[in-house]
Symmetry: C2
Subunit: 121 residues, 2 copies
Amino acid sequence: MAKKLARQFGCPSEFTLYVLGGKWKTVILCYLKQQPLRYADLRRLIPSLSDKMLTERLGDLTARGLVLKKRMSGPPARDVYTLTPTGKSLSAPLTELYRWGEKHAAGFGVIVSDPFARLRN
Amino acid sequence: MAKKLARQFGCPSEFTLYVLGGKWKTVILCYLKQQPLRYADLRRLIPSLSDKMLTERLGDLTARGLVLKKRMSGPPARDVYTLTPTGKSLSAPLTELYRWGEKHAAGFGVIVSDPFARLRN
């Protein structure tokens, strides 16, 4: 179960980072900002997260009201995770986090994969 | 000493979050984006961080090339922390993290302080 929100924060960005809730939850939100995704898609997008860790993070994001599990009519019918309106409101910071990484990876000498390429294989 | 950068990341936002390096380092960068600050100012801005924790985080941000300690001529002369060009390049994501918190705190029923008011008292 998600931790209750602290009532007071020292600054606005501290609050935003608290809502985002850490690296992997932020990465999940970045992916769901692109498109609704099945659980199996998220597993392929973030192979370093175990089932237990991914399930916990999705549960926390759902409890915080940022993510919603939704049945999409088929065929075949399937359950997808998608952003709630509150989750969508985080679009600007999520976009800028993604863009900075795209632009600056080469300067840091690091290789950054195109995560959605993993879904197409 | 800062951890070495991993050479490969699964997606751009994962890399950005790795560079930002967690909640408190991101909050420190948000403050330094506003203005260069003395160590004592940062201590007042983030009272919940101990000396040890703040020193460690500043050391890590310096080692990563995001923050620089600089002597400002006086009188009185004083040492301030300021963003390097790489630190400044993070301006867009830092701004959006701050803005989202400002805009949405009330909707979450939380109180967010104006951190710089603490420096004026």
